[in-house]
């Protein structure tokens, strides 16, 4: 693996030393294992409820009466709900593409350029990560109203991109920071222009991180409620906004069917984020890239 400092991977994962560890107190694998199982249980019970009750044959969230696909049928036979699903997908796709391009460029600029604007740009990039979403939603609503821009599909997309750029930058920069610029320099010594060096050397090097960041962005945007809620307008609303309106009035197991379908979509994106980097000749999985282990 080129450019990865030996300390991150080379010195061996902690796991190898477990055989020697004397066990007491907190650091007991058995205690930790049981504890972890409970956390997993806590995380998965509601998911199981969503999935199981999406197949319920009656309109109840209290008792499961039998297997049925009627809630999926209800979802799929309602053209506007179906359209909402496609709207959510389109928003997520456009957000992914644009935010990934802008965010990657920002990451490259932040690592490579050392101008007096870099610190300011860095802070600018970090702020969205630590700003509550409701603030981003309100400010987006205000700027669009102020400029007389009709709230629509595109206002949602713009708000999503704004909030996603920083995620992309952080993930991509994590990888970039661990690479030297020797290969680019070598490419340029061989006659490549700087732009060619970026296109032919840097981007392929960064590709696993770019793919992972893009798919993460896709999943975040696809699931987003708060930003969409504030910026949705006259076009078909994305699914989470429909869900919000629906769960404040009445009981609808259709929500469970929608939730299950959305989970399948998001998981596909995440699984792709984890697996795709391998197709680009990387041994490490996308999880490493996403959790920033390469920083």
């Amino acid at each position: 693996m080129t450019g990865v400092p030996p300390t991150t991977v080379g010195s061996g994962p902690l796991g190898k030393r477990k055989a020697k560890a004397r066990e007491d107190g907190f650091d007991r694998p058995r205690f930790l294992r049981v504890y972890s199982w409970f956390v997993y249980l806590y995380l998965f019970i509601p998911i199981a409820v969503v999935v199981i009750f999406s197949f319920n044959s009656v309109k109840s969230l209290q008792s499961f009466q039998g297997f049925s696909l009627q809630w999926y049928d209800e979802f799929l036979s309602d053209p506007t709900l179906r359209e909402s699903l496609f709207v959510s997908l389109r928003i997520a796709l456009i957000t992914m593409i644009i935010a990934t391009i802008i965010g990657t460029m920002l990451a490259i600029g932040l690592v490579r350029a050392k101008t007096r604007w870099s610190p300011a740009a860095n802070v600018l990039m970090l702020i969205p990560l630590v700003t509550p979403e409701i603030v981003a939603g309100i400010s987006a609503l205000l700027i669009f109203s102020q400029l007389g821009i009709q709230l629509s599909f595109w206002t949602i997309v713009i708000a999503h991109i704004t909030f996603s750029i920083s995620y992309v930058t952080v993930v991509v920069r994590g990888r970039l920071a661990s690479m030297g610029d020797e290969v680019e320099q070598a490419a340029m010594d061989l006659g490549a222009t700087r732009l060619q060096a970026v296109r032919l050397v840097l981007v392929p090097e960064l590709w696993p991180a770019i793919v992972a960041a893009g798919l993460l962005t896709f999943a975040l945007s696809f699931d987003d409620f708060v930003l969409s809620f504030f910026t949705t307008g006259e076009d078909i609303q994305p699914l989470p906004v429909r869900i919000w309106s629906a769960i404040r009035f009445g009981v609808s197991p259709t929500i469970n069917a929608i939730g299950t379908l959305m989970m399948v979509v998001s998981l596909t994106a995440v699984v792709a984020a984890v697996l795709l980097p391998r197709f680009f000749g990387r041994k490490e999985s996308g999880i490493k890239v996403l959790t920033g282990q390469e920083e």
Partner: protein
């Protein structure tokens, strides 16, 4: 993270100076409104029910049987798309921000306000095939003196729903909300008018009072009720079905839904209260910015067609004041007459929410915010 460590005091100062400069620039905004006025079409001639494109309807969630939209689409070859709001004020906000919807569902007072702002289309009721089935109560209402702006969709009372297997001693008064059997399992509707209105009625004020002293006392009434409350929520159906609520301020249609969804419908009762029965109507109106007002009108006509009205009532549990809708609802509630709404009651015993003065609305909103925040 590689934040540049040289982010020092000088740079912060520079950033601060830039910010101050920006603030100065924002001063230029002084006096501007946030929303731009909507571009209204010049011609405001009455529209006709004829297909002129796909429509986008802006409705409460789960308020219309999707099958009714679907069959309309199939019959006329246009799309009926739907978006939802969870609050009338939010609906107005999006409409004012220039949102182009073909049908909206305001209450009479919202229809009145929107019409004052010139935001509603006019149409001739007689051009609809099914207009003759509309209950005469909705002829020339105060919000629509010439019956040319709105068609009624549903009507409902606000009252109290309770579990008669848990709670006893209900008296038919709004004070039943603080029945000790329901302490800790009582819900107030998360709606500023329903909540304050109920308190006004308990105190013997006018339903729509805007007297600050009276509202202050009603606020205290609500704060006292909060001691008994489990929550403030519009989801009376779910709260009653899942057993979290045993007493719930509620709309009568929700009780129909509750009774449809539980194994023990006989345990769920509903009462309207002697101090006063708020009666509401949800109207269908066509905003001036509609893209396909003709299709919209045609769709409204479709919704009040007797067989469709009956089907829709069976689906959402709310009565429709049109031929077909009334009968369907009567059959739904035949064993629990308290849930029924007598349209005659709309005249004298029933009361409507109406706050025309923006200052009054602001005061009510302020009062409700204080109740929720306390």
């Amino acid at each position: 993270m590689t934040l540049d460590p040289r982010l020092n005091r000088r740079q912060l100062l520079r950033a601060g100076a830039g910010g101050a400069l920006g603030l100065y620039g924002l001063g230029a905004l002084n006096g501007c409104t946030v929303e731009r006025p909507i571009d209204k079409p010049e011609s405001t001639a009455a529209i006709k029910p004829e297909i002129d494109g796909d429509i986008l309807i802006y409705n409460w969630a789960q308020y219309m049987d999707p099958d009714i939209k679907k069959r309309f689409s199939e019959k006329y070859g246009v799309e009926v798309n739907e978006v939802n709001f969870d609050n009338l004020e939010a609906m107005v906000t999006k409409l004012r921000a220039g949102g182009r919807y073909d049908i909206i569902w305001p209450t009479p007072e919202y229809a009145y306000r929107l019409n004052q702002e010139g935001l509603l289309h006019r149409f001739n009721r007689d051009s609809l095939n099914n207009a003759k089935g509309i209950s005469s109560f909705y002829d020339k209402g105060w919000w629509d003196p010439d019956s040319e702006l709105s068609i009624p969709y549903t009507y409902y009372t606000t009252g109290i729903a309770w579990r008669n297997d848990v709670v006893s001693g209900m008296t038919g008064s709004w004070n039943d909300l603080t029945n000790p059997d329901g302490a800790g399992k009582m819900f107030i509707l998360d709606d500023f008018q329903e909540a304050i209105g109920e308190a006004n009625l308990i105190n013997g004020w006018d339903l729509n009072t805007a007297d600050p002293n009276e509202l202050e006392i009603s606020k205290q009434t609500l704060l006292d009720q909060k001691e008994y409350a489990r929550g403030i929520s519009t989801n009376s159906t779910a709260n009653l079905v899942n057993g979290t609520a045993v007493i719930h301020q509620a709309w009568n249609g929700d009780i129909v839904n509750v009774r449809n969804q539980v194994d023990n419908p006989e345990d769920f009762s509903y009462e309207t209260c002697e101090e006063g029965v708020p009666v509401g109507t949800d109207l269908m109106c066509i905003p001036i910015t509609a893209r396909a007002p003709g299709t919209a009108l045609k769709f409204i006509d479709w919704v009040i067609q007797p067989d469709n009205a009956a089907q829709n009532v069976m689906w959402n549990g709310y009565p429709q004041p049109v031929e077909g809708g009334k009968e369907a609802f009567a059959s739904l509630v035949k064993d629990e007459p308290s849930i029924d709404v007598k349209l005659e009651a709309l005249g004298d015993g029933g009361m409507e929410y109406r706050l025309d003065d923006p200052d009054d609305r602001a005061l009510w909103n302020q009062t409700w915010t204080e109740v929720k925040a306390s």
